[in-house]
Symmetry: C2
Subunit: 352 residues, 2 copies
């Protein structure tokens, strides 16, 4: 516990301002009107600061989906049955899920970590079994997890990043799978941002309006019941969290501490990023936000994180899918930055 | 001339509604909440209709940059000198330009066609010399090109597409290079949409506010001078056009007639797409719009075409660069569509 507390309190890595300035200067010399590549220029400069080199690169990409179940599913908050969590874990591993196809297309490594499905799973190639429990408790009645379980979930995420980093990780993407997890994530975000349930609650995987109304009531009930315990981010995550959301938070914290760029996925992932930033201010420096989710509450979370996502494609799948779709933008940004000729090299006259 | 007129009047290819419906049905069966991949689902369905097959693919991608100079440069309308047009043609061919790096990264074929630079160019590998003239005439004083020259420019674009199509083209991207060409494109768009110059004029490659004011005056002067000649799209293009914009229009028309999906780049390309749609209504069915340019007039042109671009990254470079950056979205959309498992295949329970 002591080691963990020391780890949690350890600082965020610093961005390399020298590499950032070198990248900025290079962008001014490339054969294009200054600024005409827009956010692709900003990305290259930002990645230079993160990777501490003037010519950043995004070749070694790790995509990790954390999966778990949620006690609050007893309140009937999703359009899908809970059995889908384990069925989708199998689907990730066998290559049929969206993120499997994307990881394969992008030549990225895909890992799946089961941090707490209700159903036990057979041994599956590509799935790490680190089940903390058979799902969280129902936070409408009690605390979702114990403090020890929260520490365990954070550590699973953090240790995973440490392992990946030893293999030359250049970009980390985390994803989530867990039927019912927009309910947990929405409750966490409401508590972290002190907002009522109705401001952030949306359809998740596809609730109709009456289902959304019920979901608002469930979340508001939990927020009211636990009001006195929701002052600090640790307690918020313990009270309302899912194991996979906490594991994502732990992974993001480890990236921020170890200086690994993170490409954040959509709604659930952004809530984990918000929790990381509140647990350790400054973590957000290491986060690039990939896409605006169609889940309506996402925008307020992005605003709270001062984040402007790269894409807005109406996606709302989770699994890290939105972040994966943004990977080519980072790769192309680095390719342009490194590969374009300067005005001098190409003997092109600059702006008058 | 007669053959050309017959060609121009020949109809647009039809979308395949059967393949479109098959693709739509497949999307409903893939292991994800219906609609949760947002525009990536729409793209796969749209490409199925265009390619007339339920599992479309984007492997054979042609990127062609048409380059030319503009007589209106005599009015001092750009931040860059005219010599940059030919310098950039060399830069495209030698691999140092943004589009060269992008084409290489995307494994797309890049062609450069010189349809009318002021300067003569040496023979360059990868550049086709089809100069119509040493730039257009200054449209502040006279008509930019003759009717024969316009036909020539349209034919160069169209013949190029026909040639590419015989090599199995699956997606066509056109781009532009021509110092001063936002002035020409803005004037064309104003005439086609019957808007005053100030509503569409922007900084182009980087004019400061006084330069933009001057550019507005130049364009408005031309619109007023040629008012009686600007009733029909053919005359608009002849009076105000650039050779590269007309060649792009010809290429887009050929794609629409031959059933080749087009990924439209930014401001200049969208004006060419607008001209194509006005010359041959229905052409727009074959256009996918890649990105919202930072050039402020772009939005009104997109609105006129009922187009919602895929990306908004603040890009304003031309050269087909914005379209190239959107190619991975189309590829990933096709990969997801073809590669994901169905609910049945993965034994995943669907929505309740």
């Amino acid at each position: 516990m002591n080691n963990f507390e020391d780890w949690l309190a350890s600082p965020v890595a610093r961005l390399d301002r020298v590499a950032q300035e070198q990248a900025y200067q290079r962008q001014q010399q490339l054969t294009k009107p200054a600024g005409s590549l827009g956010r692709l220029e900003e990305l290259a400069i930002q990645l230079a600061a993160m990777q501490a080199k003037p010519l950043p690169q995004i070749n070694n990409v790790q995509i990790t989906v954390f999966a778990a179940d949620h006690g609050v599913m007893a309140e009937n908050v999703s359009a899908f049955p809970q059995s889908v969590t384990t069925a989708m874990i199998r689907n990730f591993a066998s290559g049929g899920a969206a993120i499997s196809v994307l990881a394969n297309s992008l030549n990225a490594r895909l890992s799946v970590i089961n941090v707490g499905s209700v159903d036990e799973l057979e041994t599956i190639d590509g799935v790490t079994d680190q089940r903390i429990a058979a799902g969280t408790q129902n936070f409408c009645h009690t605390t979702a997890m114990s403090s020890e379980q929260l520490q365990q979930a954070l550590s699973i995420g953090a240790d995973h990043v440490t392992k990946c980093r030893s293999q030359g990780l250049e970009l980390f993407i985390g994803g989530d799978m867990g039927i019912g997890n927009t309910t947990s994530a929405t409750a966490i975000a409401c508590a972290l941002l002190t907002l009522p349930a109705e401001t952030l609650t949306g359809p998740g995987t596809g609730l109709a309006p009456p289902g959304i109304k019920h979901k608002v009531a469930v979340i508001q009930k939990a927020l009211t019941k636990h009001q006195s315990e929701l002052k600090m981010p640790w307690s918020v995550m313990q009270t309302l969290g899912g194991f996979e959301i906490a594991a994502l938070t732990g992974a993001y914290l480890a990236c921020a501490k170890q200086g690994v760029p993170v490409l954040v996925d959509g709604f659930i992932s952004s809530v984990a990023a918000l929790a990381a930033e509140q647990l350790l201010p400054g973590s957000r420096d290491w986060f690039i936000f990939s896409h605006a989710s169609a889940e309506p509450g996402h925008q307020r979370i992005l605003t709270a994180l001062n984040a402007e996502p790269l894409l807005d494609l109406g996606m709302r799948l989770g699994e890290a899918s939105g972040a994966a779709v943004a990977v080519p933008l980072l790769k192309l940004s680095c390719a342009l930055h490194a590969g374009m000729a300067t005005f001098e090299q190409a003997a092109v006259a600059g702006a008058l």
